[in-house]
Amino acid sequence: MSHAAAELKMTTAPAPRTRPNTGGRSSDALPAATLVQWLRDMMLIREFENRCAQAYQQAKIGGFCHLYTGQEAAAVGTIAATNPDDPIVTAYRDHGHALARGMDPGACMAEMFGKATGCAKGKGGSMHMFDKPHWLFGGHGIVGAQTALGTGLAFAARYEWEVLKRPLANPGVTGATPAKKKVCLTYLGDGALNQGVLHESMNLAGLWDIPVIYIVENNGYSMGTAIARGTTMAHDLTKKAEAYGMRGEIIDGFDVIDLYDAFKPLVDWCRENQKPAFVDLKTYRYLGHSMSDPQKYRTKDEVEQFKSKDSIDRMAHVLMNERKNKDSTPVLSEQAFTDLQTSIKEQVRHAMEFAENSPVPDASELHTDVYLNPMPNLSPTAEYRHGAKNPLL
């Protein structure tokens, strides 16, 4: 077994749990429909990524494309614990976060196809998913860079609540709706643990009580480098949090309900107390780092072991067997599950068609969105203009 797998303290497939229904867990208060929605979100991401892989093989998607397969519970379980207007920011493995946040799969796929209807009008690509209406501040390609942005988003959210005291949506209205306390989720890969910018960011967040949660989606590898080969104290990353004066927690990312139950109280605590936190979220990616990865650094066995505790299978099992309605029928029937599968396939097929049939960006879009206030002589060769409205706005 590789270092990474050892780190993750893998055991063989865990026995299905019988969830104690005694209260005290955040998820107990949730209606069954919400849990079914989580399952649906995870299945949507899985199907979406499968279709991405196909489209990539057909050269309909270019550049780098990093799939989220295996990690679905991480985005779905953490985002479920936020409010829709809490800002979030992530790295380049970002399709899952975008979909979990509610981005239209068509806009997400069209972006990868380089189409005008994409969430960034075809100017961003797979690594740059932005969705303003859903408070998703990107997809970022430089390992670790987004951790400073997330710190700034949370800083601004705190400033809005504490200094402006009113939502930025109506800056002119003093004393109208009071601003609320927010939390920013900032996702990073385990590889970003070794970037200076994360450490500067965590220091600032600890210093100034910035309500940001750094979520390390610890899938054990950065490309082909197992975590312990690149990161000190890989067996206890929370020590890093401690060093910056913030709460650090290790959370299992394979069971979405457990994940939510562990994460929700942390989000609530950070929001209420306006403090930062750090989460070592154990997860695993089933596929290669990007679309061209022979995966010589890990064994097939290791991958299979992780697949055996697949978060989607597990959630489906829980909803179809463990969670019961009042009349003791399972909250998800076999039929309902099949319908779910069908509707997701249909939804992603639509997204593919939408991306396929959408127009490429107009040639004039090359010179738009460079400046919000274009003026003459900004460039010796280019004349900047205002662009078409972003399809998400």
Binding site: W135, G138, G152, L153, F155, E160, D369, N377, S379, P380
Partner: protein, 348 residues
């Protein structure tokens, strides 16, 4: 679903600018402070962050007294983490605030290069127009006086290569205030380059509010024999050279560009069509510098009007030396500028 809507209103540029002459004489650093303070009084979304800006009153006393007026939530002492706080400003600006980030020196901005070159100017494009990044980054640029190689950076050569931000480089208190106020009101990110060597310079700064539009050069001196183009501190060397040259009957137009992105090339071309000669003075290294860019644009647009190839006067193409005499020889100075002009006009 709620969206973040925020508007930063561009100033009204239709009002004529107040006279440059007068007796309200203040220092360059005070002009900068007035610009920030006036805008901060107007708009609570603005905050100032940087090393030593608050309790220490500014490493160069630019923000003196601002902590007292605006308090620690808006005048914020940052630890020495340029990449961290530059990136924090990016996130804060995307969210809807208006950060002013002071780099103690632009030399130190190099450790924040990823944030200021990858994120700041590209966010609007990468997000397909969803988020701009209206941060003002400001600080000392250029040789400060025997600070040696690592502390004497002129970043405009490097940074002006990147599309997406605007770059202002004032040479005097009047322009410093008017340009900084405009920078703070800009919708786009602005790199604002000051000079440690000019912070104590004094000049009239009118009491009334004014905003200097970007992309408009100032004709600092008029003459028909040669066009001198510069920005920031070397404008003064040009004025000195022009003074000397006038004594031998050579008259120069001196253009203070004030901003280099946008670059008021129209003003340069207009002058070159009159003089037939251009000398560009730039305190960056010569290779792929702003001076090279100006020379190229002149050749592209006014080749037929030229009586002499465009000339650039840059710093010497070596790391910045420490020794006083070597540093003086390294920088562009009035002597080198005057010699270049004499050469161009054919007067020996």
């Amino acid at each position: 679903m709620t969206t973040i809507e925020h508007t930063i209103e561009l100033p009204d540029f239709s009002k004529p600018l107040p006279p440059r002459e007068g007796d309200r004489v203040i220092q360059f650093r005070e002009a900068l402070r007035e610009a920030m303070s006036e805008e901060m009084r107007r708009d609570e979304r603005i905050f100032l962050m940087g090393e030593e800006v608050a309790q220490y009153n500014g490493a160069y006393k630019i923000s003196q007294g601002m902590l007292d007026e605006f308090g620690p939530k808006r005048i914020i002492d940052a630890p020495i983490s340029e990449n961290g706080f530059a990136g924090l400003a990016v996130g804060a600006a995307m969210y809807g605030l208006k950060p002013i980030i002071e780099f103690m020196s632009w030399s130190f901005s190099l450790v924040a290069a990823d944030q200021i070159l990858n994120n700041v100017p590209k966010m609007l494009y990468m997000s397909g127009g969803q988020w701009g990044c209206p941060v003002v980054f400001r600080g000392n640029d250029g040789a400060g006086g025997q600070l040696g190689s690592t502390h004497s950076w002129c970043v405009e050569g490097l940074y002006s290569n990147v599309p997406g931000m605007k770059i202002a480089i004032p040479s005097n208190p009047y322009d410093a205030k008017g340009l900084l106020k405009t920078a703070i009101r800009e919708l786009d990110p602005v790199f604002f380059l000051e000079s440690e060597r000019m912070l104590g310079d004094k000049g009239h700064v009118p009491p009334e509010e004014y905003y200097i539009p970007f992309g408009q050069a100032r004709l600092a001196r008029e003459g028909g024999d040669c066009t001198l183009v510069s920005f920031g501190r070397p404008v003064h060397f040009c004025m000195e050279a022009a003074e000397t040259l006038a004594q031998s009957g050579i008259e120069c137009d001196v253009l203070d560009m004030r901003t280099i992105r946008p670059l008021d090339i129209d003003a340069v071309i207009e002058s070159v069509k009159k003089t037939g000669r251009v000398v560009v003075v730039d305190q960056c290294w010569p290779f792929a510098s702003v001076a090279s860019e100006v020379c190229t644009q002149v050749m592209e647009r006014a080749f037929d009007w030229l009586d002499h190839p465009p000339v650039r006067v840059n710093t010497e193409d070596v790391p910045t030396p420490y020794a006083k005499n070597l540093e003086a020889a390294y920088l562009p100075n009035a002597g080198r500028i005057a010699a270049a002009v004499r050469n161009a006009v054919g007067a020996k």
